[in-house]
């Protein structure tokens, strides 16, 4: 420990304080307000020394006040800032308004010919009939159908169908499918139910149904494909799609093709004309810079507890660049509307009550149909999607397995 000698000294004058003197000199000027940081930097002293010296200077007759504001080092300026009104980058909301929105209905899993189908073509009642009347009333020109128009028949449903055989069921479908003025229906075929005839018997059921529809004069029933079909939505309200079977005019053109035209077609495509489906299968999108794809699809596999599980797996299963902008799904007898990975995915519900098959497998049926309104920006994207589901309560509709009939 260092020892210091204590000596008695006379009380002296105030010690010389160089800092205080320097500050006092500054105070001679006009400035009455002094920044602590500024002074400390200028006089090369720590803030506390400046505070003491400033107080001393005031005592010695100086005038002024000391500001404590300290600046933030440049590297830290962006870390925390006092909230202030920020400039917001404007998104042009005109892109959310189109003069020609797409209006369409959506339904699936009608299972006509099943006892559990809720529609009756003879009395023209049921959810489907209601839907078509609604479309007519509200000027909705198109209905999409996600497959399973009829119940088909196989070992386990043979006592639950009203008609046996492909012709009987398809004719019932064509004859009893609702008709509304100005409403066109775009169908795809499922790979189950009506698709059983394809899988089991090798019958192209979609083409068969299309031929029957043409023969029955049902121009409003348009068949797009088996299991899946893409529809291109073009800004301006145009829908582009391929028909599964040529329309009567197209067929006339194909059949009337000259030999040279037929040869040219064969060399281009490797196909002989007229071939069964008659027309090209590839969507020709050339000439359309902005396009959104609506994919009408009949799913597969069982349904999950969570309604959105299968649609999520389907969307996640698409390769990059393969995702549509809208996907309309049939098969699961579910209704839901999800926005998944920038894709609007609708499960279209059903118009068949919960069947014995579903009841045994504890699968609920979401009975009803959708009415959609999609807004497409001029750049093609679907940025606004109205989806109205009209649900039906089907209480008291029970199938009695003993009598194979409907219980009153």
């Amino acid at each position: 420990m260092r020892m210091t000698k204590t000596t008695k000294t006379k009380p002296s004058r105030r010690p010389r304080n160089a800092l205080a003197e320097k500050i006092l000199e500054k105070m001679a000027g006009d400035h009455a307000f002094y920044g602590l940081e500024e002074l400390a930097n200028e006089l090369n002293a720590p803030p506390n020394a400046i505070r003491d010296a400033f107080a001393e200077a005031i005592k010695r007759g100086g005038h002024g006040s000391l500001g404590e504001f300290s600046t933030v080092p440049e590297a830290y300026l962006d870390d925390v800032q006092t909230p202030r009104k920020q400039r917001v980058k404007k998104i042009d909301i005109d892109r959310f308004y189109s003069d020609t929105p797409f209006l369409f209905g959506g339904t699936a899993d009608s299972h006509l010919a099943s006892h559990f189908s809720l529609d009756d073509g003879k009395t023209q009642t049921g959810p489907l009939w209601d839907m078509y009347r609604l479309c007519e009333r509200e000027g909705i020109p198109t209905v999409l159908h996600g497959g399973n128009w009829v119940d088909g028949h196989c070992r386990f449903n043979q006592f639950e169908v009203k008609k046996i055989g492909v012709t009987a069921q398809i004719e019932m479908f064509i004859n009893e499918w609702p008709y509304a003025k100005g409403v066109k229906t775009l169908f795809i075929g499922g790979d189950d139910h009506e698709g059983w005839w394809w899988q089991r018997d090798g019958l192209d059921i979609v083409e068969y149904a299309a031929m029957k529809a043409a023969a029955g004069g049902r121009d409003d029933m348009v068949f797009l494909g088996y299991v899946e079909a893409d529809i291109a939505l073009i800004p301006g309200g145009q829908m582009l799609y391929n028909r599964y079977l040529a329309s009567p005019e197209e067929r006339k053109k194909i059949l009337g093709a000259t030999k040279e035209e037929q040869e040219a077609f064969k060399s281009e495509t490797g196909l002989v004309r007229p071939f069964p489906s008659g027309i090209q299968r590839k969507l020709d999108l050339s000439g359309h810079e902005h396009v959104a794809i609506l994919r009408l699809k009949h799913g597969g596999g069982g349904t999950g507890y969570a309604k959105s599980y299968q649609p999520q797996k389907i969307i996640n299963g698409y390769e990059s660049g393969e995702k549509p902008q809208i996907e309309a799904l049939g098969h699961y007898h579910k209704e839901s509307m999800d926005y998944l990975r920038n894709c609007w995915v609708a499960q279209l519900g059903t118009t068949e009550a919960q069947s014995t098959f579903m009841r045994k497998r504890v699968i609920p049926a979401d009975v009803g149909y959708f009415i959609f309104r999609a807004n497409q920006a001029s750049t093609g994207e679907i940025n606004r999607f109205q989806h109205r589901f009209v649900p039906y309560m089907v209480r008291g509709f029970n199938f009695d397995p003993r009598a194979y009939t409907i219980r009153e």
């Binding site: 925390v80 800032q81 006092t82 909230p83 202030r84 920020q86 917001v88 980058k89 404007k90 998104i91 909301i93 959310f96 023209q124 009642t125 959810p127 009939w129 209601d130 839907m131 009347r133 609604l134 291109a232 999108l285 359309h288 810079e289 902005h290 396009v291 794809i293 507890y305 969570a306 309604k307 959105s308 599980y309 660049g321 902008q325 209704e335 839901s336 509307m337 999800d338 926005y339 998944l340 990975r341 920038n342 609007w344 979401d366 309104r373 920006a377 750049t379 093609g380 994207e381 940025n383 606004r384 999607f385 109205q386 989806h387 109205r388 589901f389 009209v390 039906y392 309560m393 089907v394």
Partner: protein
């Protein structure tokens, strides 16, 4: 229609604006003292600490309770007979709120539903939120229901690099300065247990919803209204029939299947207490389903995916809903047999949702381009 709750809120706010300076100082002192004391303090202890008469502590405590920003509860010590006051994290549940015809011009019940704005987070989508409100303004919609996560909340280890402003004051000021303000549009919000709800806990003990509303009023904004914490029922008249719209913010893990959580929520509600419509925040999904006779909508959010979300393998969609409610339409056909919603339950309501979705910021930077769309193929 102004409810009793509304008027009491109004009174409390006016009351708080007239607080004398001395009382305000005492209130701040009480909050500071109670923040430091885990067990709580008696009135006399508070008076001694603050060097004020007990009467002043009475006034300050009463003012704090009526203002409702800080959560202070009374704890009776049964052995000593002392009455202690301590800061609490307990929020009283929301009361039902009635929306009258002033919000629904022409009798058309239309409103917007949003969630997860997360003000204070770097990834908040101010551009999309402002565009959404602009659309609402153009559509003449006056009411927005916000399902929670209005602020980012306390910084955590995983969100440290995402949060712009650390405390409730800064985040609230940021919200007030930057939340879209469109003439005629009122926003009613609930608060979450997570995000802004973290300001309810130590060391803040704030009733953050009330704090936001009061701060907004002080700053001259009367369009932000607090409904309550976590869940609030609202009632609106649709075609002469009362319809209950529930705002919910479930703070619970988000499963893979987007619809799983709302399905479980709907199924768990006791019979007879189900709302007609349930708007669900927190999840960041855009979805509507009809389950157990309840229209359930997950109302999206206005925040891009953050690094912490990516780390937790959580996605999010940017957007919100415009919802119209109607009585099921009935009409009789010439043969007198069918109305297209005739099988609909009598007490049900027709639900017409329209979702607006936004892409990432980059999409709107490239003017007139939609590079991800099929048919472009140039990116």
């Amino acid at each position: 229609m102004v409810t009793a709750e509304d008027s009491s809120k109004e009174q409390s706010t006016k009351f708080s604006q007239k607080i004398p300076r001395k009382v305000r100082k005492c209130m701040d002192g009480i909050v500071d003292e109670l923040t430091r004391s885990k067990k709580g303090k008696t009135k006399f202890e508070l008076a001694d600490d603050l060097k004020v008469p007990p009467q002043m502590v009475d006034v300050a405590l009463n003012t704090l309770r009526r203002g409702g920003q800080y959560l202070i509860e009374r704890v009776d010590n049964s052995r000593s007979g002392d009455v202690l006051f301590k800061l609490s994290t307990h929020l009283r549940p929301a009361e039902e709120h009635v929306f009258g015809s002033e919000y629904f011009s022409g009798g058309v019940v239309r409103f917007a539903a949003i969630s997860n704005t997360r003000f204070g987070n770097k990834y908040h989508r101010d551009d999309a939120l402002h565009a959404f409100y602009d659309v609402l303004g153009r559509e003449g919609i006056n009411l927005v229901l916000h399902c929670g996560d209005i602020l980012e909340g306390v910084i955590t280890a995983t969100t440290r690099d995402e949060v712009l402003f650390p405390g409730p004051e800064f985040q609230t000021q940021n919200l007030i300065k930057n939340y879209p303000k469109v003439d005629g549009i009122d926003t009613y919000f609930i608060t979450a247990k997570d995000a802004e709800g973290s300001f309810t806990r130590r060391p803040y003990f704030l009733n953050i919803g009330r704090f936001i509303e009061d701060s907004a009023i002080e700053a001259g904004r009367d369009d932000l209204h607090y409904l309550g914490p976590h869940e609030a029922d609202t009632r609106m008249s649709v075609g002469g029939r009362d319809v209950v719209v529930r705002l919910a913010h479930p703070t619970i893990g988000i499963p893979y299947a987007a619809s799983y959580r709302p399905q479980k929520m709907a199924e768990s509600i006791q019979g007879g207490t189900k709302p007609h419509v349930m708007l669900v925040g927190h999840t960041g999904n855009i979805e509507t389903i009809f389950v157990k006779d309840i229209w359930v909508a997950q109302v999206g959010g206005f925040i891009d995916q953050t690094p912490s979300m990516r780390n937790a393998q959580r996605g999010t969609s940017v957007g919100g809903y415009i919802i119209e409610l109607r009585r099921p339409q009935e009409f009789t056909l010439p043969n007198g047999t069918v109305s297209y919603e005739e099988r609909f339950q009598e007490d049900q309501v027709a639900f017409i949702p329209e979702a607006l979705a936004f892409f990432n910021r980059g999409f709107y930077d490239e003017k007139g381009k939609a590079p991800y769309l099929k048919g472009k193929g140039k990116r």
